[in-house]
């Protein structure tokens, strides 16, 4: 659907690229001016940037087209655009209020929000002042509570007759005043008062007023001819703050339909999306206007949702958008983020680097760049970036995030926390700082603080899988399996193609002794791992302890890989089911990862949390519980099993997960033909040797054990095993020949 939509919007592009650009320029200019008139600074900035990124040519010629759209020829485009030229009624109102509006705007600009609101709106306190309050208290038992009061208030206190612009400004100022008070109430970041429970007290009255306002206006103007979309936007925002999200979405949709070039509304709408399905539903619904903004919105939402399902569509959409806006830093950033989410870090970082060189003063989005550099463990660049950001402005949340990431990469976690806190003090809704701070608290073993940070991140944005995953991790540390499982599932739901999520889910199930589900989850992880064709876990989540050190090479594997560790885990789980045959199959599969036929195998680096080693100790009882993920698991299952059933079918190639003893060593020894002997595969070999021994396949057992001795892993165990085998052989050999003549494959 996304592509269809894209096509629709592009159909309007081809006729005349120039005309389109000219129209866009006009629209964007108008939007910028109107946004700044309404003190929507961020939207104004966004639009202006987009406007500036349009190609330069043919500016003057296109004015003709603009005039065709506009009613009268403008002498100065600003004048033309600033007044509501198509609505004489509004224009008259605005003209009447001009002086008051200027006053209000100047108050707004000096951040005196209450004063700004008071210019247009009557004071909130009822006419009687405090006397009313006392009276009502005196007769509390008599007075009917809130309902009557509310209706009365709305009756008594209607909005004055104002132009939409002034009304918007006034209400918006009131809203911001509430936000400011809310922030002041919560005091220090993660302090006692900062529980996220303080609310914006202005939201409810504003929402009520707007409701009344719209009821009256819609009645008088059913076609919405006179609506400009701003108040609708505000209503949407206010509703979203009071958690009435469906309603909010409705109003925001209405707003973008009326005023598609107001980016704030789109952004707000994308915040309300909870999944790709929501987005697709929205795109299908046909409520969205058909223009370039929808396309940008679609891209933005897709990137925001880490959606990788229709990555091609997003990529093409991005490309075509960049064709229209060749210099748009916003779009370039989105593109870089897109590559980042699809694990193409090199491209992402090179895009960011170009943006950096061209716009050195621009700090927006640099936190993402620092995340990329973090994942790439590129300390020098990260230091450089931090230096640059600090030189530009050291008190911007982005800067603090960059510096925090740098310190985190240097393992100075206390300092990192300090900088993330600073970022949050500057902007509490700065999502990535909450998540990253959570990671740092995990590193500092302060699990409770970590949980709180993650929780705040999730409250700000429910689509942040890293925060969900972090929550899961924290609860796992606290041994609260059910909670951990829940959060891991949320993370996996957001990122179904990330092996790490599924591994976490699997390990959680295993911990709770729900082995079948654990196995399913792990198989899903295997499938996901092959989907990305690279070892995603280390990179998808930038707080892995082991990955903080040594730079592992991040070349893409040419072929699909199976992760031996996961295979080993699955085998372990099967063993505990107990289903030794399956376990043996997976062990063989694990072993076969090191003896592939292809040359120059990829090198991967697989850090694991140590706890995964220990989790197998649990005893097993099969727990059957129908899970939401079951159907998904099914897919993964068959996929993997088709691979797994043919362990010798050369579907795999040498894989050397750098084990616990440092990745670099493994990589170096791994240069040539399938010698990817690692701790994991060695353990698999030992297990297989024991298994063979138990099944009296002494030759195979001996061969495996000797291999082990040669490889130098688990030598003591292997030697013991060899002795045991020889002992058994000597005990049985004099009597008869070996009972099982399976030695055929060896000879």
């Amino acid at each position: 659907m996304a592509t269809i939509n894209f096509n629709e919007s592009t159909t309007s592009v081809p006729p005349d690229q120039g005309a389109l650009v000219a129209e866009l320029r006009d629209r964007l200019t108008e939007a910028t001016i109107k946004c700044s008139e309404r003190c929507l600074y961020q939207s104004a900035k966004w639009t202006a940037e987009l406007l500036d990124s349009l190609p330069e040519d043919g500016d003057q010629d296109r004015d003709q087209d603009a005039q065709m759209l506009g009613a009268d020829p403008p002498t100065s485009s600003y004048r033309m655009l600033s007044t509501s030229y198509d609505d004489p009624h509004e224009a008259a109102l605005e003209a009447k209020e001009a002086s008051k509006y200027l006053l209000a705007k100047s108050y707004f600009d000096t951040k005196e929000f209450d004063r700004c609101a008071a210019v247009f709106l009557p004071p909130v306190i009822p006419a009687g002042g405090l006397a009313v309050f006392e009276k009502s208290r005196a007769r509390t038992p008599l007075s009917t509570p809130s309902k009557r009061g509310k209706s009365k208030a709305s009756d008594l206190n209607p909005l004055p007759k104002l132009s939409q612009k002034s009304l918007f400004l006034a209400l918006y100022a009131r809203y911001l005043a509430g936000e400011k008070r809310k922030e002041e109430e919560s005091e220090m970041v993660l302090g006692p008062a900062d529980g996220g429970q303080s609310t914006n007290r202005e939201v409810a009255p504003i929402s009520r007023q707007l409701e009344d306002y719209f009821r009256i206006r819609d009645a008088s103007d059913p076609q919405l001819k006179r609506s400009h979309g701003w108040l609708e936007y505000l209503h949407g925002v206010v509703l979203a703050r009071s958690k009435q999200e469906d309603l909010a979405q409705e109003w925001l949709l209405r707003s973008v339909r009326l005023n598609p070039y107001h980016w704030g509304a789109w952004e707000e709408m994308s915040h309300l999306l909870s999944s790709v399905d929501d987005l697709n539903g929205q795109l299908h619904s046909g409520f969205l206007p058909q223009n370039v903004m929808t396309l940008i919105y679609q891209v933005h939402a897709n990137v925001d949702l880490f959606s990788t399902t229709d990555s091609n569509a997003t990529a093409t959409a991005l490309d075509s958008l960049i064709d229209i806006f060749p210099f748009s830093t916003y779009l370039l950033t989105q593109q870089a983020l897109f590559y980042y989410h699809s694990k193409d870090f090199d491209t992402a970082s090179s895009i960011f680097q170009d943006i950096l060189v061209d716009h050195p003063y621009r700090l927006d989005g640099l936190d993402h760049y620092s995340n990329i550099l973090y994942v790439m463990a590129d300390r020098p660049k990260l230091a450089f970036l931090a230096h640059l950001a600090t030189s530009v402005d050291k008190f911007r949340p982005e800067t603090c995030c960059v510096v925090g990431n740098y310190y985190s990469l240097c393992s100075h976690h206390e300092k990192a926390v300090m900088y993330f806190r600073r970022a949050l003090t500057l902007d509490r809704s700065f999502l990535s700082a909450w998540t990253l701070m959570g990671h740092e608290y995990i590193e500092l073993k302060n699990t409770h603080a970590a949980i709180e940070s993650y929780r705040r991140a999730v409250d700000v944005n429910r689509k942040d899988y890293r925060a969900w995953y972090g929550l899961g991790q924290a609860y796992e540390v606290l041994d609260m399996g059910f909670y951990a499982l829940f959060y891991y599932q949320r993370a996996a739901g957001l990122r179904p193609y990330d092996a790490k999520m599924w591994q976490a889910v699997g390990s959680c199930y295993a911990k709770m002794n729900r082995l079948e589900q654990a196995i399913k989850a792990l198989k899903r992880a295997l499938a996901a791992g092959t989907y990305y064709e690279t070892d995603s876990p280390a990179q998808s989540f930038n707080t892995s302890v082991a990955s903080a050190k040594g730079k592992s090479t991040r070349k893409q594997a040419g072929r699909k890989l199976l992760d031996p560790q996961t295979l080993w885990d699955i085998a372990q789980l099967y063993e505990r089911m107990p289903n030794e045959a399956e376990a043996a199959r997976y062990m063989e599969l694990c072993l076969s990862q090191e003896t592939g036929q292809t040359m120059g195998g990829s090198k991967t680096h697989k850090p694991k949390h140590k706890k995964q080693q220990h989790k197998g100790a649990a005893s097993f009882t099969a727990v059957n519980a129908s899970q939401r993920d079951d159907s998904d698991d099914g897919d993964g299952d068959t996929e993997v099993l088709s691979d797994a059933t043919s362990p010798s079918s050369n579907a795999t190639e040498p894989l050397s997960p750098a084990g616990y003893h440092g990745g670099n060593q493994g990589e170096e020894t791994n240069g040539g033909f399938g010698t990817g002997t690692t701790a994991t595969t060695s353990r698999a070999r030992l297990w297989l040797a024991r298994y063979a021994f138990k099944n009296d396949d002494l030759d195979r057992a001996e061969r495996l054990a000797e291999e082990l001795c040669m490889d130098g892993f688990e030598v003591e165990e292997a030697k013991g095993l060899v002795r045991e085998i020889r002992g058994r052989r000597e005990a049985t050999a004099p009597g008869a020949s070996t009972p099982f003549a399976f030695a055929g494959d060896e000879t």
């Binding site: 950096l356 060189v357 050195p360 990260l382 450089f384 230096h387 510096v403 300092k415």
Partner: protein, 778 residues
């Protein structure tokens, strides 16, 4: 400005790294370590310049220090290796790695060793630098301070480092071509942009701002060290800020960074010394306002102490004393012995200098009388182990002994005690004052050459560590002694030789000027240029009261001398009486008393009322004798001789003068000796006259020839003696004395009937007079 780390410290770390890698041959180790340690241990106060240089060491200074030191790698010097280490740091992150890795150079702690042994771990490789060595401490401190840096501070360090090593770029690229990618940051090279890009403009804004500059980077630590050093220098020596330090302070101000609070104190001291009372007052208050809260110790007593000293120095005695009393009370309350002792000592010295102001103190009895006060101070100083205070107290005691005319042995004992303390407890800045005291003592017992050599010793050997005031006083004393010996031009040269940094202090400048004027006035009086001398003396008198009572007395004596030479004897007597009335209040010195008595006797002698002065002269002699003030004793005796001469007791006079002459010669006081010779000549002539008059009266022809013979002999001796007197007076350019000698000689030649010689004498007389008049008159 960073707290501790500066680029030069990073360079030292790099040098430490080179050193610990063993790439320095054994023979060069000492030199490299010397370079390191002399820059690490700022506490060892070698000298002012070294410290300043270290605070802002440039990379080229290091090159100088290390140049030519071969390393273990053939063909490379230590400097090359260091450069390589410095330029290997190619981005901010590399600097981070570098500093974070420096603790690896250190050896293991005891705990680590124990743990290793107990757990049987294989020995981990570790550095060789002992953790507790100065170098080890330095490395640990550096890495700790780095850890404490905020991010922007570490980037500032990085940028400073780039600027710091830039001068060595040429040297590095010469040896290692094609290695260097960017002189700034390798990331810039990665981005493939040059330094003119906006990006670099943003990042290195700080460096672009002081592009002009050989601007040295200071850390707060360095600054504090530097200022502490300056303050202690200024406090112990009493000088002003040297110019280099002033430029440094200006630089700091221009950097706009927060300078340490001590800056205000430095400014206070400086403006105090410069005589700028308002600024000093202002800065003192500012300093204590800023530091009152920031330290855990209360400094109120110190604030008061400083305030009191300041006020006293600017002549507000009435306010200084209550302030000091409060300081003492506060110090007692806070049990701050050191401060208390300082206060007491100051109060004591203040009391000595201005006894008149001390009425209230004496009434409260804080210090008791003088000796009690001194004993108290001595015991307190010993208790608190304040050796400087002990030494100065002992010297003060010696001084009191002298002034009271007590036993010489006691004086010497006290001086020796002080010297002992100086040597045993290593108090170098009191050695000079002890010598000065000794010099005074020697000159009192007439051993002028000893006194002079003590002074020379002080100036030659100990002037560097001694308080500037003492150096100045000693120089002036030496000049006075030289004048007295008749080496006038040497004396003037000596006065001109005083180092300019002493004269930058207003108080010393005034002191110096006053004494130069006194010497000059005395010289002019000798030359009989009375008008010029009168002018100078009027100037000096108009400046009364001088901060030192000693100076005032000298001026008054000059004034009296002038009056005498002008033959205004009545006025001179009045002035003398005034002085005598005032003296016991201000200056309770036996010597002065003695001199006044002598002077009065001389005055009576001059006004032909010699007998009136007899008892005065006797008293003076007695006093000087009992106090063993030999020069005064000889002067008093001479006065006595004059009285005897006037009363025709020529024989007694001759005997008296002949008896004191050898001792007077020992005093090396030309004027005294000259007057002695004159007196002797007078006595000879008188004796000769007696011989003749007896012949006239009795007319014994036999004896006549013999008497004539005796008379001639006596007259001959008189001429000899007169010649000697003339010689002495010539040395000190005493015109009147010379003329007197010549006139008397002319008379004798006339009497002998040798008119030619007499005439010659007359001509000499006239020409000498003319010569002097010409030299001075124009």
């Amino acid at each position: 400005m960073g707290r501790f780390l500066t680029p030069s410290k990073v360079a030292l770390l790099a040098l430490a790294q080179v050193y610990s890698k063993g790439s320095i041959p054994l023979s060069g180790t000492a030199r490299v370590l010397n370079v390191l340690i002399s820059r690490i241990l700022l506490d060892s106060k070698e000298s002012d310049e070294l410290l300043q240089q270290q605070a802002g060491d440039t990379v080229l200074d290091l090159e100088q220090a290390l140049a030519g030191q071969a390393s273990a790698i053939p063909g490379r010097t230590v400097w090359d290796l260091l450069l390589k280490a410095l330029w290997a740091i190619d981005c901010a992150d590399a600097l981070d790695w570098f500093i974070s890795d420096t603790p690896l150079l250190l050896g293991k702690t005891r705990d680590e060793l124990l743990k290793e042994r107990d757990e049987g771990l294989p020995p981990q490789p570790a550095g060789k630098i002992v953790r507790t060595s100065p170098l080890g401490l330095f490395i640990r401190r550096c890495s700790l301070e780095y850890l404490r840096l905020q991010f922007q501070d570490s980037t500032a360090l990085w940028m400073d480092f780039i600027a710091y090593r830039m001068p060595s770029k040429g040297a590095f690229t010469r040896k290692n071509p094609h290695v260097l990618r960017s002189a700034f940051d390798s990331n810039i090279a990665d981005l493939e942009i040059d330094t003119s890009n906006t990006l670099t403009g943003i990042m290195f804004r700080r460096m672009l701002e002081d592009v002009d500059g050989q601007q040295k980077t200071y850390s707060t630590y360095d600054c504090e060290k530097l200022m502490e050093f300056q303050v202690s220098e200024m406090q112990s020596l009493g000088g002003r800020l040297p110019d280099t330090m002033k430029t440094t302070l200006k630089q700091l101000a221009r950097l706009g960074t927060s300078a340490p609070k001590l800056t205000h104190y430095l400014k206070f001291l400086d403006s105090w010394r410069a005589g700028d009372f308002t600024s000093a007052f202002d800065n003192l208050h500012r300093y204590f306002d800023y530091t009152m809260q920031s330290r855990d110790r209360t400094f109120y007593q110190y604030a008061l102490l400083n305030l009191a000293i300041l006020q006293a120095d600017f002549g507000c005695h009435a306010e200084a004393i209550p302030a000091m009393q409060e300081a003492i009370a506060t110090a007692r309350e806070n049990r701050d012995t050191i401060c208390l002792n300082y206060c007491m000592s100051w109060l004591y010295h203040f009391g000595r200098a201005f006894p008149a102001q001390m009425q209230s103190i004496r009434e409260t009895g804080i210090l008791g009388n003088e000796t009690e006060g001194l004993n108290f101070l001595k015991s307190r100083a010993k208790e608190a182990e304040m050796w400087t205070l002990l030494s100065t107290s002992l010297l003060s005691e010696a001084k009191i002994n002298l002034q009271h005319g007590e036993s010489l042995a006691m004086c010497f004992e006290n001086i020796v005690k002080a010297s002992h303390v100086n040597v045993v407890k290593n108090v170098p800045n009191c050695t000079g004052p002890a010598l000065l005291m000794k010099s005074t003592l020697f000159s009192r017992i007439g051993q002028t050459h000893q006194a002079y050599s003590c002074g020379e010793r002080f100036l030659l050997c100990h002037s560097k560590n001694a308080p500037l005031e003492d150096v100045l006083k000693c120089t002036i004393r030496q000049a006075a002694l030289l004048t007295q010996m008749g080496r006038v031009s040497d004396a003037q040269a000596n006065m001109a030789k005083i180092p300019p940094h002493i004269l930058k202090v207003l108080k010393y400048k005034i002191y110096h000027t006053t004494h130069t004027l006194i010497l000059r006035a005395r010289h002019l009086l000798h030359r009989n240029a009375l008008d010029s001398a009168g002018q100078i003396i009027t100037q000096l008198v108009s400046q009364q009261p001088h901060p030192e009572t000693d100076t005032s007395t000298q001026v008054s004596l000059l004034e009296i001398d002038l009056l005498i030479r002008r033959r205004e004897l009545m006025a001179a007597l009045d002035r003398l009486n005034q002085l005598a009335d005032k003296a016991p209040l201000e200056n309770n010195d036996v010597s002065l008393k003695c001199r006044l008595l002598t002077l009065k006797a001389t005055l009576f002698a001059k006004s032909d009322k010699a007998l009136q002065g007899f008892s005065l002269a006797m008293r003076a002699v007695e006093l000087a004798h009992s106090a063993r003030i030999l020069p005064d004793l000889w002067a008093a005796t001479l006065a006595l001789a004059h009285i005897l001469l006037q009363s025709y007791e020529f024989a007694a006079a001759r005997d008296l003068v002949a008896a004191i002459l050898p001792q007077a010669l020992e005093c090396l006081d030309c004027e005294l000796v000259g007057r002695c010779y004159l007196a002797l000549a007078d006595s000879y002539v008188g004796l000769a006259g007696l011989a003749v008059s007896s012949e006239d009266g009795e007319g014994k022809g036999k004896e006549n020839g013999k008497d004539k013979q005796t008379q001639k002999q006596l007259m001959g001796s008189a001429v000899d003696v007169l010649e000697k007197a003339g010689e002495q007076f010539r040395w000190i350019q005493e015109l009147e004395g010379q003329l007197e000698a010549l006139a008397k000689m002319g008379r004798i030649w006339m009497w002998r009937g040798d008119a030619a010689v007499a005439n010659e004498m007359g001509e000499k007389y006239m020409s000498l007079r003319k010569e002097y008049a010409e030299a001075d008159g124009c």
